[in-house]
């Protein structure tokens, strides 16, 4: 049997340049969209508010970055899942679970009780008592000053006063220490909780062999129930002053004295994590497997890649990011509320999709995801700045998501149209 002599396809050049253009567009696309959205709001704000325009001020941009952090950090984890061809609908409620566990850990003084055998409440009580003592001493001094007095008496009282002040300072230092300890343990629990949620998702996805959409639809409800259980169906409120470390609250605070190099420390942390993740996605063996899974699971299997464990690793890694998201959510709310994550998963997924990832797997980028999350925050913020109502904001977000997905489809078709 003789095959007809074949020529190399001549269309190669055209498609290649097409592909290159696509690749450039993948990176630049989200950037363009963000620039366009920012420009639009800046100009519209300028028109409407004149000198009082605030959209493009440093403070507003900083505020936006702080408002983005929770979604952005969770979206980083989701990016890995989506690249691997999966999806995690439980991310939202898992964030709430992490935040609730964190709040619960603070409220129950887990850290101080485990590692210092003490509770913040007892120290706070000693402070109150010491303050009472100090008041008493001050009153006695005043009483002495009012009547006859001798110097030894006054000296003794003054000594007692400075002793009392010293005691208060000691207790306060002790409380600060305990709060930090408590915060460290609580953050650890949040991260562990997130990783555990992810691990469970991964385990179910790879061993049940059910599509992740369904599995995580189930765990979404599961985690919601778990966090309600932890919170005993109410909001967990650790005492803001005796139990919550300032460092934790300042993570995403926009107060001027909580900023670090002009941005909240949580935003810097997000950027650091993003850079780390980008490096992992570029230079590790694991990342090759992640992309292989998302691009073609059958091929991955054929190449002897351990599909199950890599999936579990992907979901667990994403769970860690969810844990960070939980810390961020607590930092903003200072309470743990079981329902505060509902609906968050869709914003997280939307951020990834707007950032140019493909829901059919195999494609996605860290930078794109960050930009996607930013686009959504900018829209929310801009709408408030312009005084636009919620219906408008909802519609804009909806259209952006549809546009992103349509773009993805368009890209895919362009690729598969090849001979």
């Amino acid at each position: 049997m003789i095959e007809p002599p074949t020529t190399q396809p001549t269309s190669g050049y055209r498609t290649k340049s097409n592909q290159n253009w696509m690749r450039v567009f993948n990176v630049v696309g989200p950037f363009l969209a963000l620039t366009a959205v920012v420009l639009f709001f800046a100009i519209a704000d300028g028109w409407m508010n004149g000198e009082k325009a605030t959209f493009l001020t440093g403070r507003n941009l900083m505020t936006i970055s702080s408002q983005t952090a929770t979604v952005a950090v969770a979206a980083l984890g989701m990016t890995v899942i989506i690249i691997a061809g999966g999806i995690d609908l439980s991310a939202g409620t898992a964030i709430a679970l992490c935040a609730t566990v964190l709040a619960w850990s603070l409220k129950e003084d887990l850290g101080p009780r485990w590692f210092a055998n003490e509770t913040t409440a007892s120290v706070a009580k000693s402070i109150t008592e010491a303050k009472g003592d100090l008041k008493q001493i001050e009153r006695e001094i005043e009483a002495l000053a009012g009547g006859e007095y001798n110097t030894t008496q006054v000296a003794a009282k003054l000594m007692a006063k400075s002793d009392a002040e010293e005691t208060i300072r000691q207790h306060e230092r002790r409380l600060t220490k305990l709060k930090s300890l408590s915060a460290a343990v609580a953050v650890g629990m949040s991260l562990g909780c997130g990783a555990f949620c992810g691990f469970v998702n991964g385990l179910l996805v790879s061993y049940l062999r059910v599509v992740p959409f369904i599995v995580t639809l189930g765990t979404m409800q599961l985690y919601l129930g778990l966090s309600k259980q932890v919170a005993r169906e109410t909001t967990v409120r650790p005492d803001r002053f005796s139990q919550v470390s300032d460092g934790l609250v300042d993570l995403l605070s926009v107060r001027a004295d909580a900023l670090w190099l002009g941005l909240p420390s949580g935003v810097w942390l997000t950027l650091l994590l993003a850079a780390l993740l980008a490096a992992v996605l570029h230079w590790t063996v694991f990342s090759r497997y992640v992309f292989a899974l998302g691009s073609n699971e059958a091929t991955a299997r054929l190449c002897g890649i351990n599909v199950r464990w890599n999936k579990i690793a992907v979901y667990t890694l994403s769970g860690l990011f969810v844990g960070v998201g939980g810390v961020y959510q607590f930092s903003r709310l200072t309470v743990g509320n079981p329902t505060s994550g509902s609906g968050l998963e869709l914003r997280i997924i939307a951020a990834v999709v707007i950032g140019g990832a493909s829901l059919s797997g195999g494609r996605g980028s860290v930078l794109g995801t960050l930009l996607g999350a930013l686009i959504m925050s900018v829209i929310a913020n801009g709408c408030t700045m312009l005084g636009l109502q919620n219906p408008v904001q909802d519609m804009i977000l909806g259209v952006i998501i549809v546009a992103a997905v349509a773009l993805d489809q368009f890209r895919q078709r362009a690729v598969s149209r090849k001979p």
């Binding site: 049997m1 003789i2 095959e3 007809p4 002599p5 074949t6 020529t7 190399q8 396809p9 190669g12 498609t15 290649k16 592909q19 570029h282 230079w283 590790t284 063996v285 694991f286 090759r288 497997y289 992309f291 292989a292 691009s295 073609n296 059958a298 091929t299 991955a300 299997r301 054929l302 190449c303 002897g304 890649i305 351990n306 195999g362 494609r363 690729v415 598969s416 090849k418 001979p419």
Partner: protein, 513 residues
């Protein structure tokens, strides 16, 4: 001889660079059954797709019942009078027999069905088949396969077809159902329809057909009355010319045994397969599509579950160890990671959906199964990998811009080379190649044959599955012929001829099922 009800003349069709059909002509007489014969990939299905309107030909004309026929699509062809019965049934399982028969040609006005007319139409069709006992209201799901097939035929009849094409209709039928089907076909023949019957089984063809036409490499190579032709005539027409110098041979000699397979059975196929494979040997596996060749490779590789049997893998120092995986009765499929570490490598027959991660780069695809040389603590040295991949690309003459180019941008032959490069890069000792030369050009084929010879000379063992007999006979040391899941016969390659392979492959003389 009656006048042809369908004539196809000068039909030419190419896909990209491949000529699927070249100047094919076919006359289907009314009231006769014509067998369309050819090897896999000879162009039979493409020709039928042209007839059914799924493809439009690049050149050539067709007439149906004396009128020019150029269907715009499958539906148009069906309405014009061409009925197709494929081996995969196309029925809506939850609809009734009647609804299935009338699907796409419902009678009615203003969106309302004219039940009475429809019922009459269905009756006529079933009567013509001699199966008026089929109840029009039964959901098709509840019928056995053979009766579902009748529904398909009735559907063709209900659209007043002039020509019916049966594409391997017996593959899912039992022996007695086949007899029933043949009776139906004979009835249709007497009703004056033109019938095209496609099958690999010469025995069946002899039973039901009157005349034949043979396709090879997309060309008509012969035909005539069946009564005038012997089986040998037909097979030699199908197989074509002898071995040419297209097959570069690299001398290699089989050494010690590396893999001993005994009594291996999968879910449906393979069935009780035993053989041994040696270092430096190329073992070819021939057989028709569906004979269980791909399944055998998948079972060996652990992609499919094995029910019974054992695999014994021997490593070079004569040390023997039996791998778990195929020994016990109920065994989960062994982890592929294990198989890869045991030195197995598989090139899938399906590059698009299984063999390659299309959207990833050449470098990724080539190195997925062995990233160790370039990694330290999980981090990759991309530069070193790039150099190594570029090296492989050069060795295999992969034409691409760079190792970072995505595989989807490559031509089929180059994609195949990447897939093969992967198992070579993996340093697998046992290469399982499933149709590695399918859909690629002649030059690349020759390169792949040379590569296989080189690998065998380097001491690797190769199992080579192909539907292209000529290459099997030319390249392999031994060739096994499979039929219905079983190893029919293994012989040294030079003891086979294309004809003898075919006659073993198409033989239906089944042992007790």
């Amino acid at each position: 001889m009656s006048s042809p009800v369908l004539t196809m003349s000068g039909i030419t069709k190419s896909f990209g660079a491949t000529h699927a059909l070249r100047d094919v002509s076919l006359d289907v007489p009314a009231g006769r059954v014509m067998a369309l014969i050819g090897e896999n990939g000879a162009g039979k299905s493409t020709l039928m797709k042209v007839l059914s309107g799924a493809h439009s030909p690049d050149a050539g004309t067709m007439t149906l019942n004396g009128k020019p026929f150029a269907p715009s699509g499958p539906h148009a062809a069906r309405l014009a009078g061409v009925g197709m019965i494929y081996q995969e049934l196309n029925l809506a399982p939850d609809l009734s027999v009647e609804d299935n028969i009338m699907l796409g040609q419902e009678r009615g006005r203003f969106g309302l069905l004219d039940r009475a007319t429809q019922r009459a139409k269905v009756r006529d069709a079933l009567d013509l088949l001699g199966h008026s006992d089929l109840k029009p209201n039964t959901p098709v799901r509840e019928l056995p396969i053979a009766q579902q097939q009748l529904v398909e035929i009735a559907r063709a009849l209900a659209s007043d077809c002039k020509v019916i094409v049966f594409d391997e209709p017996t593959s899912s039928l039992t022996r007695s159902d086949v007899e029933h089907l043949f009776a139906v076909i004979r009835r249709l023949k007497t009703a004056g329809l033109g019938i095209v019957y496609i099958s690999h089984f010469l025995e069946e063809i002899r039973q039901v057909c009157d005349c034949y036409a043979v396709l090879r490499d997309g060309q008509s190579v012969g035909g005539g009355d069946l009564s005038d032709a012997t089986d040998t005539n037909i097979v030699s027409l199908m197989v074509g010319r002898s071995v040419s110098e297209l097959f570069p041979s690299v001398p290699h000699t089989p050494g010690e045994i590396v893999l001993q397979v005994s009594g291996l059975s999968g879910e449906s196929s393979p069935v009780d397969v035993s053989f041994e494979l040696r270092r430096g040997e190329i073992l070819g596996i021939a057989g028709l599509i569906g004979a269980g060749r791909t399944e055998l490779l998948r079972c060996l590789f652990g992609l499919d579950r094995c029910r019974t049997g054992s695999l014994t893998r021997s490593v070079s120092e004569g040390e023997r160890f039996t791998k778990r995986g195929c020994q016990s009765q109920v065994q989960r499929s062994p982890s592929l990671t294990l198989r890869v570490s045991e030195g197995f490598g598989l090139v899938s027959e399906d590059r698009k959906t299984e063999g390659l991660a299309q959207s990833r780069s050449i470098a990724d695809n080539m190195t997925y199964s062995r990233l160790k040389p370039y990694s330290r603590f999980g981090w990759l040295n991309l530069k070193r990998r790039r150099t190594a991949v570029a090296d492989w690309m050069q060795r295999l003459h992969v034409k691409a811009a760079s190792p970072e180019q995505s595989v989807s941008e490559l031509s089929g032959g180059n994609q195949q080379k990447v897939a093969i490069a992967r198992v070579l890069h993996q340093e697998a000792d046992i290469l399982l190649l499933d149709e590695p030369t399918r859909g690629i050009d002649v030059g690349t084929k020759a390169e792949i044959y040379r590569l296989m010879g080189e690998q065998a000379a380097a001491g690797k063992a190769i199992i080579f599955v192909s539907s292209y007999l000529t290459e099997l006979l030319a390249v392999c040391d031994r060739v096994a012929v499979m039929s219905r899941g079983r190893f029919k016969e293994i012989r040294v390659a030079r003891d086979w001829t294309a004809e003898s392979v075919m006659s073993v492959a198409v033989s239906v003389n089944e042992t007790v099922a």
